[in-house]
Amino acid sequence: MTTPTVTPVGTTLDGLTEDAVRAVAAGEPDWLVDRRLAATKRFLDQAWPDSRTDEFWRSTPFAKRFDTSHPLIAEASSDAAVPTSLVASLELTTAQLRIVDGEVVEASVPAELAALGVVVTDLRTAAEEHADLVRDHLGSLTTSGEGSGADEDRTISVNDAAWTAGAFIHVPAEVELTDPIGVHVHVSRAGAHLPRVLAVLGHHAKATIYLEHTSDEGVDALVDEVVEVIALDAAKVDVVSLHEWAMGVSHLALHKFGAHRDAQVRHSAIVAGGATVRLRPECDLLGPGASVRPLGIYYADEGQWFDLQPYVRHLAPKATSDVLYKGALQGRSRTVFRGNVFVHKDAVGTVTDENNRSLILTEGARADATPFLEIECADITAGHGSATGQIDARHLFYLEARGIPRAQALRMLVHGFFREVLTEIDLPGVEERALAHIERELAATDLDRLGINDAALRDELG
C-alpha cells in the first residue's frame, strides 16, 4: 500500500467527500457541480464491490486487486516523460488529447478538422463552450436507470463524482473522419487516477478513436476510467482501446456506447499490460438497425489478471451484436470472460452472437469463461459459446515435421489463434501493435512448461 501524499485535491479515493469533490470541481458551471455532488451522494451511500456477494465481481477479488486507499491524483508532475502514443507515431494530421496524471496536458485539433466543426478538447472547457452537448450526454449512459446496473456500482459513481481530467470529442453530423483521433492516458505518479471521456457523434458522422493507456515502470496506481460514446442515427464509430500499462497499474474501465438507429459501433480491446484490467465494453442498442462488434485480444502473463465483461443490451428491434474475445495465457495468470447479452422483449429480429476462446500456453494459468444470454423476446437469432484449450499436439507436430523449431511453431500457432481478430481490426498501426505485444509475450514463454493438448491425437489414433 502506498502512503498517501499531499495532493492538490487532498483526498484518497476511500475518503472522498463532498468538499473534496467541490475542490475537484472548482470553476465548473453549477449544473456540472450539482451532478458531481449527486454522484458523490450515490458514492457515499455505496460500498466498494464485495466479491463474495456481488455477482459481477465473483470471479475477481476486488479488495485484493484494487487499492482504493490511493490518493487522488489530479496534476501531472512537470518532469513526466510521456511515451509516444500510437496515434502520434503514425504522423497523421489528426486531433489528439493527452491526459497525464489526472490532468489534461495537451489537446490539439488541426485546422482542417476544426473547420469541419470537429471538437477535441478538455471536458471542463467543453462544459463551458459546448454546454448543451455535454449537459445532454455526460453521464447519460452511466446513470440511465432501466436495469443497466452501471450506476449501482461505486467504481462508476466515483468517476461520475470526481473525474479530474476528461476528453470531449464531438464529430458533427455527416462529418466523416478517416484518421484516428488519439486520446492518450498516461500515469507517472502513484495514486488514484480518474480519467473521463465523452464522445458524441452526430447522425451519419464517422470517426475512429484510439484510447491508449500507458504508465511508467514501477508506479503503483489505480485507474478508474469511464468512457461514454454516443453514436446518433447512422453514425459509425470505431474505438480501439490499448491497455499497455506497466505492472503497477490496476485498471477499472467502463467503455459504454449508446447506439441509435442504424449506428455502427465497434470496440476493439487489446489488453496486454497492467496487473489487473477489468474492462466493461458495454453497448446499448437503442435504435432499430444498430449494430455493435465488441472485439478483444488479450495476453496475460505472470501475475496478471484480466477480467473482461462485454455487455450488450438489445433495446430496439433488428439490431445486431457479435462479440468475439480471444485470449492467451501463460505463467501464473488469470483471465475472466463474463459476456452478457440482454434482449428486451420488444427487440424483435435481434441477431446476436457471443464467443470467447482462450489458449492456455503454460501450466499455472487459468481462464474462466461464462457467456450469458438473457432473452425476453422469442423472435431472435442468438448464439454463444466459449472454449478453453491448449496448443493442439497435431498442429505442433505438423509444423515441426516441416523443420520448424518448436518456439517458432508455437509463434505461428499463437498468431494463427489471434488471426481472425487481427485481420478484422484493419486500422492503421493496430495489428502491428497487437503483434508486437504477442511477440513480446511469446519471447517470455517457458517452452519447457508448454501445455499441449494431445487428446485430439488420441482420438485420431484410437
Binding site: 499436439a393 497435431r394 498442429h395 507436430f397 505438423y398 509444423l399 515441426e400 515435421a401 516441416r402 523443420g403 520448424i404 523449431p405 518448436r406 517458432q408 511453431a409 505461428m412 500457432l413 498468431h415 494463427g416 489463434f417 489471434f418 488471426r419 481472425e420 494431445d454 491425437l457 488420441r458 485420431e460 489414433l461 484410437g462
Partner: protein, 246 residues
C-alpha cells in the same frame, strides 16, 4: 551401410505393441514400396521415422546417414532431410499457407530465401502440381478436400527438397488425373539424392513411380520382400495367404 537403416524397431502406442521388430534398408536414389493390410503398422513406421510424439520407440534404431533419429526432435529430423507426406494431413487454422511454406523452407534450408525468389519458386511448383494460385490466400489445409491435401503434401516435398521422403498413402483419395500429376511431381524430385518410401494399398501409383523393391508389413513386421512383381501378386491374391504363412 544403407542411408536409412532400420533395425529391430519396436513401437508402442498407448501401451500396445504396434511394431514388433522391423528391419528395413533404403538407399538414396532408390524407391521402395511398403504394402500391407489396414492396421498392420505402416503409418506407425512412417510416424516413428518422422518423430511423432504419440509413438513410443521402445527398442531398435532408425539410422539416417549414420545418425540415430530416435533421439532427435521432429524438426531436427526434418532439417536432416527427412520428410513425411502424411496419410491424414492436419488442418492448421489461422496459419497462412504461404507463411508456413516460407518458414519451413527457411528452416530446412538453413537460409533466408528472399521473398521474391521464394514466391517465384512457390508459383512454379504450384503450377507444376496444378494447384490454383488462390490457395496462397488460405490457411494450411483448412477446408482442403482430401485430394487437395495430398497434393499440398507433395507441394511441400517439392519446396523442401528432402533426401528421404516417406509418402503415406499419398495416392488414396486422388482422382486419376491427380494421381498422374502427383506421381509426375514425385518423379521430378527423384534422383540420386532422394530415397523414397511409398506406402500404398494399390499398384496404381506403382505404375507411375516404379519401386525397386516391395515390402509387405503384417502385424508389425515385414513378412515378405521382393521386386515389383510382388505388388501385382498382392493385388491379385490379397493378404489372406500371409495370415497362414506367419
Amino acid at each position: 551401410m544403407a542411408d536409412l537403416e532400420i533395425r529391430d524397431l519396436t513401437v508402442e502406442v498407448d501401451g500396445s505393441d504396434i511394431l514388433r521388430g522391423v528391419d528395413l534398408d533404403l538407399d538414396k536414389g532408390k524407391t521402395i514400396a511398403l504394402m500391407g493390410p489396414n492396421g498392420s503398422g505402416k503409418s506407425t513406421l512412417a510416424y516413428a521415422i518422422a518423430g511423432h510424439p504419440a509413438y513410443d520407440i521402445t527398442g531398435g534404431t532408425i539410422r539416417w546417414q549414420g545418425t540415430d533419429l530416435v533421439e532427435l526432435t521432429p524438426d531436427e529430423r526434418a532439417r536432416l532431410g527427412v520428410f513425411l507426406a502424411m496419410q491424414y494431413p492436419v488442418e492448421v487454422p489461422g496459419v497462412s499457407l504461404t507463411n508456413f511454406l516460407r518458414t519451413a523452407v527457411n528452416a530446412t534450408s538453413g537460409q533466408d530465401v528472399p521473398i521474391r525468389e521464394f514466391m517465384q519458386r512457390l508459383r512454379d511448383e504450384m503450377a507444376a502440381l496444378d494447384v490454383d494460385e488462390s490457395f496462397l490466400q488460405r490457411s494450411v489445409n483448412e477446408g482442403f478436400s482430401g485430394g487437395e491435401k495430398k497434393r499440398f503434401e507433395i507441394l511441400q516435398m517439392a519446396l523442401l527438397k528432402p533426401q528421404l521422403a516417406v509418402l503415406d498413402e499419398t495416392d488414396s483419395g486422388l482422382d486419376v488425373d491427380a494421381l498422374k500429376t502427383v506421381s509426375e511431381g514425385v518423379n521430378r524430385l527423384s534422383g540420386p539424392d532422394l530415397g523414397t518410401l511409398i506406402i500404398t494399398h494399390y499398384t496404381r501409383i506403382l505404375r507411375y513411380i516404379a519401386p525397386d523393391e516391395v515390402h509387405v508389413m503384417f502385424e508389425g513386421r515385414i513378412v515378405a520382400s521382393g521386386g515389383p512383381e510382388l505388388a501385382d501378386e498382392l493385388e491379385a491374391r490379397g493378404y489372406d495367404h500371409l495370415k497362414t504363412s506367419v
